[in-house]
Amino acid sequence: MSNFGERILVVEDDTQIRNFICYSLHAEGYQYIAEKTAQGALNSLVSEQIDLMLLDLGLPDLDGMDVIKKVREWSEMPIIVVSARDQDKEKVSALDIGADDYLTKPFSATELLARIRVALRHLYKQGGNKQQTSYQIGNLKIELDKHLVFLDNAELHMTPMEYNLLALLFKNAGKVLTTSYIIKEIWGVGYGNDTQALRTLMAGLRRKIEKDPAKPRYIMTEIGVGYRLMDE
């Protein structure tokens, strides 16, 4: 149990799923607070010290989106949304307005815990070592201060765009980045939503770092949502 007993707020209206989540968290050594409604969640957020929130998007009283917006007014805590499979649009907009990650029902305990680990690690990175300049995942290494990328200790030649994309993914390793977020970060706000340019850029990048672009080791495609750099 490699965690420090972080407090996790579980907002889920279905009893069975809530029980299952809470049990999994408890077994892993996390503390948890369970809430059935959005209002209850907001109350807990004010009165308790919370490190991470698991939020179901289909709550009976308030739209999950509104909860995210309200929380983001005062807190940067990681939010993982839980959604049904046909709620792709809600999922993407939740990510765009500030959620950190998502889980699609039904999910397994392993998946749940992995997402929580990634989100918490991020929290510590942000809080502590903000000036981290080099990251390594597997055999892929990036040095931000020198603008260099290494694969198997050999330097890779990258176009500036490819480098920017990879750097962005590294800074958010493990986290899913929506297509529109990446486009905004790489090309700027005024660029619109031209996914074709991103697909092409991504294909170029993958051909440099992946052995088989159709079975990627590093950059996973979350179809209909965006991309995620695997960090475990």
Binding site: T15, S24, P106, A109, A203, G204, A214, T221, I223, G224
Partner: protein
């Protein structure tokens, strides 16, 4: 045919009678003139008048011309010296003969011509009137038998007979009864006796009608199928002139038009009802599936929890695992039903964007690998980036369903491959999912994409499918404007599923 001959003989006899009567009258009056000492020119005029009247009261040019020639000979015989011979003393009579014959011929032909025109005009008017009456009444009809009744009624009236009409059903087969007009006010329904003969005759029908024991049958032919027959009693049919036949054909044409229109309206109503029913069914399925989903997630999580709480050797672990597997299967079934109902509703708007093939294929394979990691899947896609307009989420679903299917039918360790080729000629991307399973049996091949179709050849330990996965693939690929096919592999055993997606964005979806 004897009736027709009799009729013709009667007309000829009638014409000859008129000639004899008028020419005898003219000769008699001429004789009176001769004995009273009137000038001979009056006699000539009398003959000309007779010829004119003959032409007026007979049909066609023949009788008038024939009468002209007879009148010359009669004049010669009775009124030129020497009397009662065909000789002429005074040669100047020859001039009279020539002038007289020319005048007689001209008058007779002119009269016949005028008369013919008048008759034609009359016929045309009657035809127009009859057709107008027919179409006028037909617009009020609400079903096929209404139309049959109206057509029978008006055709009987126009043709002055007891016409009948036999309707055909949707499969172009005669119905068991037909309607016949027996008096101007009364229609009766009669049984069809010689069904087989009618079917046979209609099938072999080349010209306008065929002959039955009681009727001449004219086929009512719609836009693309046979709608019925109009029956004219034989004794009337043989007397029909060409004009009447033409009129009858025109009336049948109008009837066919009305029947066609009615049929297509009925078809439309039927389709609409079917669509509504389909939608109800879809809504019900969706509502049920939706409500099933949440508890299923719960059961799944709980069974996982139980597995977590027990040791692998504990029999309870296996019980929990079985619950988990079954729920997992049920869950994917529910998701498939939901996708399908949304697709068939047309509610699922395609979100088409140029997507990289490698990402979609990779996504599908990654998804599969999370569940069945033991099965190796080889991927062969073009080296250069291939962007294809598609709804990535849906095409991923297609690939997942196809791979799932392949895994279900392929022994562990045997080859499963995904190949993507760019077909420049047809401007489409071709996706091939091939396996080394037992292949597809001939009886399954044509039905494999049908909803709720499951293979009859089932191995004992296979999970029961309810035949949705491939039906969804079919619907999704079709919605993209592509094609999907299933084959057995030519290079050994196994099946392959091939689908195409057009490379160019079309706006017709």
């Amino acid at each position: 045919m004897t009736l027709q001959k009799k009729h013709k003989a009667l007309t000829i006899f009638y014409g000859l009678l008129i000639i004899i009567v008028f020419l005898s009258l003219a000769s008699a009056i001429g004789y009176l003139f001769r004995i009273t000492g009137f000038p001979e020119t009056n006699i000539v005029i009398m003959y000309l008048l007779a010829v004119l009247l003959i032409a007026r009261y007979t049909k066609g040019y023949f009788y008038g011309m024939f009468a002209s020639i007879i009148s010359i000979f009669a004049y010669n015989y009775f009124f030129t010296e020497p009397y009662y011979t065909f000789n002429v003393n005074d040669p100047s009579y020859m001039v009279t003969f020539v002038v007289m014959s020319v005048t007689a011929l001209l008058t007779s032909t002119l009269t016949s011509h005028v008369k013919k025109n008048a008759i034609e005009a009359q016929e045309r008017e009657a035809e127009t009137k009859a057709l107008y009456r027919l179409t006028n009444h037909l617009t009020d009809a609400t079903d096929l038998h209404d139309i049959a009744g109206i057509a029978t009624n008006i055709i009987s009236d126009v043709m002055d007979c007891n016409a009948a009409c036999l309707c055909f059903d949707e499969n172009e087969l005669p119905e068991k009864t037909f309607v016949q007009q027996v008096s101007p006010e009364k229609l009766i329904s009669r049984d069809v006796i010689n069904m087989e003969d009618i079917k046979h005759n209609i099938d072999g029908l080349k010209s306008g009608f065929c002959v039955e024991t009681e009727f001449y049958d004219w086929l009512i032919y719609g836009r693309d199928n046979k709608l019925g027959i109009i029956r004219i009693p034989i004794e009337r049919a043989v007397l029909m002139t060409d004009t009447q036949k033409k009129l009858l054909r025109a009336m049948i044409e109008s009837t066919a038009l009305a029947m066609d229109r009615l049929r297509s309206v009925q078809q439309r109503i039927k389709y609409r009802e079917e669509t509504i029913q389909e939608r109800y069914r879809g809504n019900l399925l969706r509502a049920i599936s939706h409500d099933l989903r949440t508890p299923l997630s719960g059961i799944m999580g709980t069974s996982e929890m139980l597995m977590d709480m027990t040791k692998n050797s504990d029999p309870r672990y296996n019980l929990a695992k079985e619950i988990y597997n079954d729920v997992n299967w049920l869950q994917s079934l529910v998701e498939n039903i939901l996708s399908l109902t949304r697709l068939q509703d047309g509610k699922l708007a395609l979100n088409k964007q140029p997507e990289a093939v490698e990402e979609v294929v990779g996504g599908a394979v990654h998804h599969i690998a999370q569940r069945s990691s033991e099965q190796e899947i080889t991927i062969d896609i073009p080296k250069e980036l291939l962007l294809v307009p598609m709804d990535a989420k849906l095409i991923e679903q297609v690939l997942i369903n196809l791979i799932d299917n392949a895994i279900k039918h392929t022994p562990l360790g045997d080859e499963i491959s995904i190949t993507v080729i760019k077909n420049k000629k047809a401007k489409c991307a071709v996706f091939i999912v091939a396996d080394r399973g037992e292949g597809i049996s001939d009886e399954d091949l044509p039905n494999i994409f049908k909803m709720f179709y499951t293979s009859s050849a089932k191995h004992a330990d296979a999970k029961p499918g309810i035949g949705l996965g491939l039906a969804i693939c079919y619907d999704i690929v079709n919605a993209h404007g592509g094609n999907i096919e299933a084959h057995n592999r030519s290079d050994g055993k196994g099946a392959e599923f091939i689908f195409t997606l057009p490379m160019e964005v079309t706006d017709n979806e």
